[in-house]
Symmetry: C2
Subunit: 246 residues, 2 copies
């Protein structure tokens, strides 16, 4: 199938490029500190970044001592900017659809992915690919849109007698969801937490961290609009590892 | 604190006793086959059943070869019926609040709990207690009301232009929820999936199975009213294990 590549849609790209996480990088992503806390020490690590976008994480990783970082993304526009903003021989970029990714066996210590997995149609294939590409003791750390965020057929908060409630339905109905996030007709893939977790377990990963991101009290004071995150999380953060015996 | 013991409330007890899971036992619990599939072979196992109720599981476990089963429940009425219906020297019952449970160290191969944990105020204490009570290689298998079911301040489906949606809010606000399930004023404890999973990991358990229960197509044909389970799961099923090296 033709991979969805909404990030190369000019209107979408323009809108995405103006988001805080595009202009400020990792510091503009509220869930980043929690995700960073799940990472192993990066010194000397060989890293693959699946859905690397503008390359914020690739540059951060080498600044933290990673031996090498391979960034993969399907978007030509994003990779163009990533290459322009990167000047480090330890970083390489490859254009490709993560749904069709091929990686060499036992070549990486860490697989990282930020907010990409909810675009993939074949999570099982990717997790199998990552499992083979990691060395014993390796780790897979990712964020994705939380299944509560992706589930509804018509996502949104509704007012229930003055109280906002998230109109949840179809949680168990996995598959595509067409949303109008930044541009009309963006297709995301809803899957349950059960699918995320059991796919990892089935391929021999051990779960090591799990977080449904929520803002701190200090963050809520600075961003009162984030209060909806207390009603319904947007971000799922997961870390899993391969045993030392492979 | 005084443990909540709604099961000894006469009206609640009468209503609960008429439910399928009370009259038909395990076969009357739709989630039971999925939970049973998470259990290790029971032959020779020493089992503790936390919130044993009428003792359906204790009797099932010895019928499957368990060496011993200790059933614990806070409800006098439930234990009375459990004792009346049990005639097996391998089964013992103890009245007690699972929130204040004490167990001997390394005395059990399996800790089991069906739909009890969402009444507890101190999950951390219980998981620590279970961890110490299990031998190396031991397992903890439980069901609980799914956090999506317990989260809302006013749980229920609402009609949104002909479409039922679950009015979700307060997912991240853990703590008591007063519901009118079977009787007015039943207090349950909402906690997130993050808390369930990270409490297990923090105490050295490895996650081995995770399921948000959903009916099969055949079950939906027989019970069309279970279709709401596709919009919002009611039951969370989890299995975790202690490593062979303890």
């Amino acid at each position: 199938m033709v991979p969805q590549n909404i990030y190369d849609d000019p209107d979408f790209f323009a809108a995405y490029s103006s988001m805080a996480r595009s202009t400020q990088g990792l510091d503009g992503a509220p869930e980043w500190p929690s995700l960073a806390a799940m990472l192993p020490p990066l010194d000397g690590q060989r890293v693959v970044d699946l859905g690397c976008g503008f390359g914020w994480f690739t540059r951060w990783a080498v600044a933290r001592g990673a031996a090498s970082v391979l960034g993969v993304d399907v978007s030509r526009r994003m990779l163009e900017r990533a290459v322009l903003e990167t000047d480090d021989p330890r970083i390489t970029y490859r254009r490709g659809d993560v749904d069709e990714l091929e990686l060499p066996p036992a070549a990486f210590d860490l697989a990282f992915s930020s907010l990409t997995l909810h675009y993939l149609t074949d999570l099982d294939r990717l997790v199998r690919t990552i499992r083979r590409a990691l060395v014993p003791g390796g780790a897979f750390v990712f964020s994705a849109e939380h299944p509560l965020y992706t589930a509804p057929t018509e996502p949104g908060f509704i007012d229930l007698a003055g109280r906002p409630v998230w109109a949840l339905d179809a949680y168990q109905r996995e598959g595509p969801r067409t949303t109008n996030w930044l541009a009309p007709g963006v297709v995301k893939q809803h899957r349950t937490l059960t699918t995320y977790l059991t796919t990892l377990l089935r391929h021999g990963f051990a779960l090591t961290a799990f977080e449904e991101w929520r803002p701190t009290t200090a963050e809520l004071e600075q961003h009162p609009d984030w209060a909806v995150e207390l009603d319904r999380p947007t971000f799922l953060l997961v870390a899993a590892s391969v045993g030392e015996d492979g």
